[in-house]
Amino acid sequence: MKLRILLIEDDPQIRRFLRASLPTQGYELLEAESGREGLGLVAAQIPDLILLDLGLPDMEGIEVIHRVREWSNVPVVVLSARDQEREKVATLDAGADDYLTKPFGVGELMARIRVGLRRSSQAREGSKETVFSMGNIAVDLEKRQVFRGSEEIHLTPIEYKLLATLIKYQGKVVTHRQLLKEVWGPSHIDQNPYLRIFILNLRRKLEDNPTRPTYLLTDPGVGYRLRDQEISGL
């Protein structure tokens, strides 16, 4: 059965462009022009993933997220313009899974959709993998050991937890707030500078060139993501 993607977007040209490209990648596309219509389709059609534009005429994007999250865990990828940085981070913190900044290419879009869909299937089936590997990095999640090539890397407990959290959400952006909350606890959600220092140290231990990282990627102003295995160069 084809996976169904719901596109909530008021601009007809963007709908047209996605209508042309998504079906060729093997997805079925549902379209909604407004937040209200979109919410109706979420309930009626139960899509596998939602693409949500942040500039809807009738509703704030964050409100759509709240309404959807009241009863559904369907992955939501937000489409935002450059001047919507704050709103974008707010929707991510409110439960959106990922975002794309306009203008975007089909390659990026497909990557986000794949990660989103994989994560929801993982959530259903439960991840059984105990060893995670990516490039020359291997992490034994049971023994809590990290290897770079054949050499074991020593990580502090916090660094390990940070890495484990990013692995848990691999391929998906994790906002500063989410990372701080998961690793340090809810009282430390404003400590972005410390997060940056820990990421720097982690990169120095794992990356070949810490300034041009290939695994621990930065989403400026939003958060961090661990590179998805299936995407390269994005």
Binding site: T156, Y194, P210
Partner: protein, 681 residues
């Protein structure tokens, strides 16, 4: 006084008579309620005849000793006279009559109005009253005497003697008494060695010492006490006030006259010194204020400086009230207004009519503040409010003119500031207009180029669907994609520029690791950077900087973009960071041909391109860099490298309180417990 009642209606002040005839009237003021009546009468006559009129107050040493309610009357009289259109003059002198006549002659006064004295009958026996003096010496000037019958002098004013004043006066008398006592003791010891006249000298010395250091009362007291004690102890018959010899009697009388004169003269000198000191203080205050106001550069600091200055001079709370955009008055600087609706009403009244009002001024005096209009070109532009810290200390009669002078100075300074601002705004407006035109022409050119390419490529794809081979189709699609990206960068730069230009930019500053910011910039340019190897040279312990990372990233992107545009493919680009004088210095160096000399500054200007028309972009990139670095408090410059190529450098201030790169953080230690108890992974 009657204005006090009707704060509610707030009537306009009386019109000044505009036409002045040949008559010139002079009204003499004194510390009596009669003065107010005199002023009104004179005003009526002056108005009827269209005459110019003066109100004169002669300030004698006795003015200093007036009880507060009397000086309040003088102040009120001044206010009233000013409002009714008189030219108010105050002169200092000792003989009231002479001063009045001198003034009258100098100003061609035709008629003098004085009040009929109620008291001082005894004084008429000696030297005559003021009225007599004037009438005897007036020559051609008419003298009108107005009676004070029914005025009930002094009744309305409740005396509120200040306790402290009494105690100070008592202390003066005690000291004077003590001085005479000491003198008597010394005289007693020396009685057998000194002659009678030398003892007199000793007492005169005491009177001089006492009157030069104490006020007039104790001085005269010391003179009288000296004569009395001297007569009692040292003039035969001793131990009595009887004087045995007529010669002694003459000595005692001379002593009485001389000592009284000395005390009187010394008091006058002291008074003059005090007047001079006060005038000097006022001049200094005005000068100081003008210095302060001249040194400020913004409207706000101007007001703050004035508030602070005036508050210091008068020891009170100062508020400056200015009309807001909607025309309503609002506190612009200084203390807030008390919660009394009348205060605001008086402020509005003063603003509307441009007259001083409030406590101690005789107009709308039921409020706590003194309100002075801020005048610029005779038009009120605001109101200055002064509330004295000790309201019982009403303003001295000459303090109000000083306050008004200060207010006038402030008004002028504000006017000057306003004109400067307007000139600056007009200049900016012209500048912005020119900028808009340049922007429109260059943007339309720069937008059209990629759009032409995109439209052309897309139409080729559409029309040549069957004719084109796969490689060409891919090539065309790539072209469209690349040009779209270029358009996106251009639009982004334009948006950034307009945000920076409009001054609406809010820096989203956080502590950032520069290594990460550089990495993000490189990541953004990944596809284009293929032809240029990038070397990064950043110390591992480089401190965190407090910046808006997205903006600094934009700076790096633009600098790298610039380096790629102007250098041949294959040449390397080097990014390095160092610390220097409390600043982080970042450098982007290329190995291209370098800059033509002379353009080092100009390339940061808007729309400047070192080779016009030859390259892409509107020349906005570097000017955006400069704006961003400047809002961060840093500098940006460019220099050619000695070997070949150009180095763009910029600084970012290193601020206090940077989170340490050291891992041993207190926050983390606190969380070891949390970490351990939640280690479920």
């Amino acid at each position: 006084m009657q204005e006090k009642t009707g704060v509610g209606e707030l009537p306009p002040p009386p019109e000044e008579s505009k036409a002045h005839g040949r008559e010139r009237l002079l009204v003499c003021l004194g510390p009596s309620l009669l003065s107010l009546r005199l002023i009104r009468t004179t005003h009526r006559l002056a108005a009827a005849q269209g005459a110019k009129w003066f109100a004169l107050y002669v300030e004698t040493p006795s003015h200093e000793r007036l009880p507060p309610e009397k000086s309040e009357i003088v102040s009120q009289a001044f206010r009233l006279a000013t409002q009714l259109g008189a030219q108010v003059v105050k002169v200092s002198g000792f003989r009231i009559g002479n001063e009045i006549l001198t003034f009258a002659r100098e100003n061609q006064v035709t008629k003098i109005f004085v009040g009929k004295p109620l008291k001082g009958r005894w004084r008429r026996l000696f030297g005559g009253s003021l009225v007599d003096h004037l009438i005897w010496n007036c020559n051609a000037i008419d003298i009108s005497v107005i009676s004070g019958e029914g005025e009930g002098e002094g009744e309305k004013i409740t005396a509120a003697p200040a306790r402290s004043k009494i105690s100070i006066a008592l202390r003066g008398y005690a000291l004077a008494f003590g001085g005479v006592g000491v003198c008597t003791a010394v005289a007693g010891v020396l009685f057998f060695y000194l002659s009678f006249t030398s003892l007199v000298m000793l007492y005169l010395l005491t009177v001089v010492v006492v009157s030069s250091s104490l006020s007039r009362g104790p001085a005269i007291f010391s003179a009288c006490a000296s004569v009395a004690v001297f007569t009692f102890f040292f003039v035969p018959e001793y131990w009595s006030f009887k004087i045995a010899n007529p010669e002694y009697a003459i000595t005692v009388i001379v002593m009485l006259v001389v000592s009284t004169l000395i005390s009187e003269l010394t008091a006058r000198i002291r008074y003059q010194a005090r007047v001079a000191r006060r005038q000097e203080q006022q001049t200094a205050a005005l000068y100081d204020m003008s210095q302060h106001l001249g040194a400020t550069d913004s409207h706000h600091t101007l007001l703050e400086a004035a508030v602070e200055h005036i508050a210091r001079i008068f020891d009170g709370h100062v508020t400056i009230i200015l009309p807001a955009a909607d025309g309503d008055l609002q506190v612009a600087a200084g203390a807030s207004l008390p919660d009394d609706v009348r205060e605001a009403m008086v402020a509005r009244w003063v603003y509307r009519y441009g007259h001083t009002a409030g406590a101690g001024t005789g107009t709308l005096s039921a409020v706590r503040g003194i309100y002075v209009p801020l005048l610029a070109m005779e038009t009120p532009v605001g109101v200055l409010r002064l509330e004295l810290s000790q309201p019982e200390h009403l303003l001295a009669a000459d303090a109000l003119p000083l306050l008004e002078a200060l207010a006038r100075q402030l008004g002028l300074a504000m006017e000057r500031d306003k004109l400067c601002r307007e000139a600056r705004e007009a200049q900016l407006e012209i500048e912005a207009e020119r900028m808009r035109n340049t922007l429109l022409s260059s943007v339309s050119h720069d937008l059209k180029t990629p759009l032409t390419v995109i439209a052309g490529s897309a139409s080729s794809l559409l029309e040549g669907e069957n004719a084109l081979d796969a490689a060409t189709k891919t090539e065309l699609a790539h072209t469209i994609y690349d040009e779209a990206k270029r358009l996106d960068r251009l639009v982004h730069n334009l948006l950034e520029m307009s945000r920076l230009q409009s001054g609406q930019i809010r820096l989203n500053k956080e502590w950032h690791v520069l290594e990460e910011v550089i990495g993000n910039a490189l990541h953004q340019l990944e596809p284009q950077l293929q032809g240029h190897p990038v070397k990064i040279n950043l110390p591992a312990d480089y401190p965190l900087v407090n910046i808006d990372a997205l903006l600094i990233e934009r700076v790096l992107i633009n600098l790298l973009d610039n380096a790629m545009k102007y250098t041949p493919s294959g040449t390397s680009i080097e990014i390095s960071g160092r610390l220097q004088d409390q600043e982080a210095v970042l450098e982007v160096a290329d190995a291209g041909p370098g800059l033509p000399s002379g353009n080092e500054e100009r390339i940061f200007e808007k729309f400047f391109q070192s080779a016009p028309g030859s390259s892409r972009g509107v020349g906005l990139g570097l000017s955006i860099c400069r704006s961003i670095i400047e809002v961060h408090g840093g500098r940006i410059w460019v220099a050619n490298r000695p070997e070949s190529g150009a180095t763009f450098s910029f600084t970012l201030p290193l601020e206090e309180g940077a989170p340490s790169l050291d891992q041993d953080l207190p926050e983390i230690k606190d969380n070891q417990g949390y970490e351990a108890s939640h280690s479920s992974h």
